[in-house]
Amino acid sequence: MMPNGPAAAAIALVTLLTVTLGARGLRIARTPADFLVASREVPSAINAAAISGEYLSAASFLGIAGLVFAQGLGALWYAVGYLGGYLVLLLLVAAPLRRFGAYTIPDFASGRLESLTLRRTATVLVLVIGWFYLIPQLTGAGITIQFVLGTPYWVGVVILGLVVSGNIAMGGMKGVTFVQSFQYWLKLCAIAIPALVLLGIAGPGTARNLSPDREAIFTHRTLVHVSDNISFTPSRPIRVTVTGVLDRRRMRHQPVQLTVGRHQADAGTDLSFSAGTPVPLRISLVSAHAPSWDSPLVTAGTDGAHPLVATYGLIIATFFGAIGLPHILVRFYTNRNGPSARRTTMIVLILLSGFYVFPALLGVLSRLRAPQLYLTGDTNSVVLALPTQLLPGKAGELLAALVAAGAFAAFLSTSSGLLVSVAGALSHDVLGGSTRAFRLCALVAGGVAMVVALPLDRYSLTVLVGWAFAIAASSFCPLIVLGIWWRNLTWIGAMAGLVAGGGACCLAIVATMLGAATRGWGAVLLGQPAIWTVPLAFCTMIVISLLTRQALPSNVEQMLQRMHLPEALMQRIHSR
């Protein structure tokens, strides 16, 4: 891969802009409260763009299109689910949560249920979910920098980790609110412009690669230049003309018959395929490939076991996961009141649905027009590779630069929001909540995430983020939903639910990562665990709460009033 100068410059520009605006916030931010929430009154439209900017992470920007390309249209469920998560958030918690006025989930837990033990448990879960979500952002940065500059994977991880934790440690979110809203529009442009330009270039033509039950084929005679050593396998015997090193044999313009099985091409080799030849699959993409590319069922995370159940598992995880993400609640605090929280969420829904059309478009386009990426590409970098594949020369390079800048904006904004939440929870509940502690925690939390992200580049960004959603859906979602709507929730019940649901979900995911089950029911129940861990968490909370009625907080009625009565009425009640 040749270093892409414009892309490197665009990434540097986006980063510089973020850091400058963050540093500007430094002068205004004085107290820990300033660091955590920029201001209570941000206009709905700006706040909604900021929420969307923070929400559209590496998974949305690079991950979905890549996963659609690699595994099939079923991966679009991630996009539908990320949007559906906000709809459920609007329906169940937006206004009451704003009225409650907590700005972290531990605050909500201890404020609503009066328990320090519960608060500490919630803090631990904030750290787990936050890190789980933070890691794919760093992974994405590693992959992007690797792709753009040709550096090793760890360089990008370290760059993003240092920039974000340093920036947060210096400025907090004071500057970031406006940076985040700017970054939504940047991301939208960075994905919409390339998608539309490439769509225009692709134009009308054969849609053969969208036929069901068929592997992708080279639609015309294609010369593939291999830039790294790759291992691949054809799905059936194919012919290829080789110049370079294939299977350790040096060849020059030599036609070869390739059998099904593992082959290796060294860097610098040219492979020439005639039109109609099925595209051989890179080994890393083999297991994930869906039987029919147009199937609307999910194969990600479960190696294709029981796709119907996996799909429902993913729907539950994403629809109910957004409520429990640690960096989302803090944004609701910046709404003026309950109705404005609902309005903001509604605008977020519109902004997100405007964005999610484009990853889908890019995924389909790459299948249709750049099937050679099945041989040379990687799930996570398809979006980065597509512009130069379809549009050789300077124009393609510029488009690629725009995509890289947007991707970096995605990593920066999401990881900033997450790091503020993680560092906030850590400093407040472990170190007493001073500004110095917050800064220290931002650096430590960022450092830990960097170290953990280093060995994880082989996972799909989208699948990693989907797992963070599953943990949130199995722990904080029932806590918040029941806390808002059910007066009989006790802290003991909530604790039991957090531990049972969140714990089971974490164990299932770790088991999947360790390869505990790769087929059958084991694979689907561990790989998309939300289908059983979310009901488990809800049931545990309800049953244990009913068994521990003596632990009901004394001020339930006041809490319910505060969350559900319109603000105008609360003012009149207070003014009496």
Binding site: A207, Y312, I315, F319, Y356, N555, P566, R576
Partner: protein
């Protein structure tokens, strides 16, 4: 919350006005709702309960519609595989539905909820605090 530590105000409350002048009638209604919420009487609790009940019913109805629409797609695909073979403009149905077609449906549900929830709160305000309504009318 200020109400928690305050002594019960029932004893010190002014007697209700039963004259039928416009201003007094308004005052009387005002006493029932806001006062009961302030004092956390059983009537006040009933008011909160009824509002919560109306709100959660609306939310759950919208949620049920959203989940039914969403959850029917995979089941349809599993039971009638020929449905997903259907193509529009050369694109598979899956791409059209999951890549954009389902978004307007979800947005419409959100929009409907947003408006209904606002209306519910306005109606509740009128019920508890008719002064609000008169202010709006004026």
């Amino acid at each position: 919350m200020s109400t928690g530590s305050d002594p019960p105000l029932r004893a010190t409350r002014p007697p209700r006005v039963v004259a039928w002048g416009h201003a007094q009638a308004r005052l009387q209604h005002d006493m029932i709702g806001v006062g009961d919420l302030h004092d956390d009487t059983s009537y006040g609790r009933l008011l909160v309960r009824s509002l919560m009940h109306a709100q959660i019913s609306l939310s759950l109805m919208c949620l049920a519609i959203a989940l039914t629409v969403t959850a029917s797609i995979p089941v349809l695909a599993a039971v009638y595989p020929e449905v997903i073979r259907f193509r529009l403009l050369g694109l598979p149905l899956t791409a059209l539905v999951l890549g954009g077609g389902i978004y307007p449906v979800l947005l419409a549900i959100g929009w409907f909820y947003h408006h209904q929830a606002g209306k519910l709160e306005a109606r509740f305000l009128e019920l508890v605090d008719p002064a609000e309504r008169n202010r709006h009318d004026a």
